[in-house]
Assembly symmetry: C2
């Protein structure tokens, strides 16, 4: 079967076809227009580069499109976005890219937007030798400002969901040799691949935070997402808020079939791409929220001290010396 | 002398250093915040890819930074932006890139923002094998909506500035063999290199449009910029507005030392990267504006008919068959 490549299509027809993925009024102008109503906006930009952030072995173009959107929405949610307005999509693709790849990518993009809200505001496509998807997402700032630097000593550290699954999914998709002595539970395998390929986010997080807030004077909450791993998230909060995180290993929520051992701890804490929200709250608020939302767990607390992380269980502190994967 | 490479710096330190290019309150959070006052926003995204849109022979990193900003601001202005709020900068760089290259790039970015307004709202840097600069610019929609599809039959086609200089600058920088029989004027050479490396835009365009408008009921004007060449700009207007452009070759403003000949016409009409504004206005308005602003020239008019371009001088119509440079 003849595979239609971008170089066969030509630039004009390509622009024309890309326009069809967008709402009719957004296509074919120099800029996208956003109507605002005295609301503050949140802007986020994330780029995914082939063979750095993804490859064609571990993820399909449709899943990649989904994931590119979700990783941006996750950043918006972790800043307190109450609604995603839309995204711009900037693609860089080799001329030998098949058109069907682009189509599948946009299918995934639109599926994620259909689920979490927002439209495609604009986009462009340039030639390059490495596939790159750069998305800028725009959301509306909600009533609570979630910021990395808003944690305080005495507050409880919480997380949505569980970590490590995305990393395990990646390793499975990559056919990496995991642990030969361990046979992984089938449900864990399935859920890990799903976490890696079709990560979910928490659109009701802000609503639940507001529902359980008793002191309406509190307008800022310490929060980030775990796209670079749970440790990185807690460390980012500790550094930006200038306080010390004490984590309770025994409270960390794991998949019930998650194996034991240092390597599995490493996947859990450094894996990344889980898009869970990591945040801190005053004690009462934390209790009320984790009671309301069973996906939320207390995992430690902040104290005054040098920006750093420590485990209550001293034996676990060796974990902190591991060097996570770095892109440079 | 030891050259410091990105891979020597490490990811954390790199993020830290990039943060220093941004206003203090914008660094280190997941999203950038934009305060709006019931105003509509314009969003534009442009990516520049090494060896597709630029190379290290023809342009310095500082000029590249300037140009990346200006090309985005040009799109905002051509939509009627009255103020640039800011930009996000997404870089993809090989790990062997020298740090000084990044520093120079940001110097150019900040020089352009200092001149035309706007701040760096956020940015990130990923590893990749081809240098890529992707900028998203956000502006405030002014009173007049400038749109590609707002031209009407009977209106005069106008352009700011002159075209072709940027293309000539590129050829000179690239040490291309130009025309051996022609010795280029020194001023033309200098101005062409400047147009290519440090293009300028027209921040007062919208103000002048409003100053010369007599019918305040007109809220929409047909406009685009000539980043892809003058022909492409006129064609985009003709297609989006569904009318026919008649261009008057003898009225087209050229540099007084611009050589004659088909090749030079081709550079002029297809060159691109001039960032001039190409637009149409009712006759009276066109006269008043070109009287007020000596940088603006009438070059033709729109009539009813199939979306296309024609010259009043039939001999010049062969120019339209040239195939401009395409990226795919």
């Amino acid at each position: 079967m003849h595979k239609e490549l971008l170089e066969d299509i030509g630039e004009k027809e390509l622009i024309n076809r890309l326009g069809k993925f967008m709402p009719r009024n957004q296509a074919s102008d120099d800029c996208a227009l956003i109507k605002t109503k005295n609301e503050n906006l949140l802007i986020n930009n994330d780029s995914l580069v082939e063979n750095v952030h993804f490859d064609n072995v571990t993820i399909s173009p449709q899943d990649l499109g989904w994931k590119a959107v979700v990783s941006n929405i996750s950043d918006l949610l972790s800043s307190g976005s109450k609604k995603t307005i839309g995204i711009t999509v900037s693609l860089i693709l080799p001329s030998k890219t098949e058109w069907v790849w682009v189509e599948e990518l946009y299918k995934g993009i639109n599926k994620a937007l259909n689920k979490y809200g927002g439209i495609i505001l604009g986009g462009d496509c340039s030639q390059g030798n490495q596939k790159t998807i750069s998305i800028t997402a725009i959301g509306i700032q909600g009533e609570l400002k979630l910021r990395r630097n808003a944690c305080s000593p005495g507050e409880i550290i919480l997380t949505t969901g569980i970590h490590g699954l995305s990393k395990l999914g990646y390793l499975i998709q990559n056919k990496n040799n995991l642990d030969k002595n361990i046979s992984l539970n089938e449900k864990l395998i399935r859920q890990s691949i799903e976490h890696f390929c079709r990560p979910q986010v928490y659109p009701h997080f802000l609503t639940n935070l507001l529902k359980t807030r008793s002191n309406t004077k509190i307008k800022r909450i310490g929060c980030t997402d775990s796209s670079d791993g749970l440790f990185q998230a807690v460390q980012d909060l500790a550094i930006a808020s200038n306080c010390k995180a004490i984590m309770n290993y025994s409270k960390i929520p794991k998949h019930k079939n998650w194996p034991k051992g240092d390597k599995w701890d490493e996947y859990y804490f450094f894996g990344g791409e889980d898009y869970e929200l990591v945040f801190s709250l005053p004690k009462k608020w934390a209790r009320k929220l984790s009671k309301l939302d069973k996906n939320i767990t207390e995992i430690g607390f902040f104290i005054q001290g040098e920006s750093s992380i420590e485990f209550t269980d001293n034996k676990k502190n060796k974990l902190l010396n591991r060097t996570p994967f770095k892109h440079f």
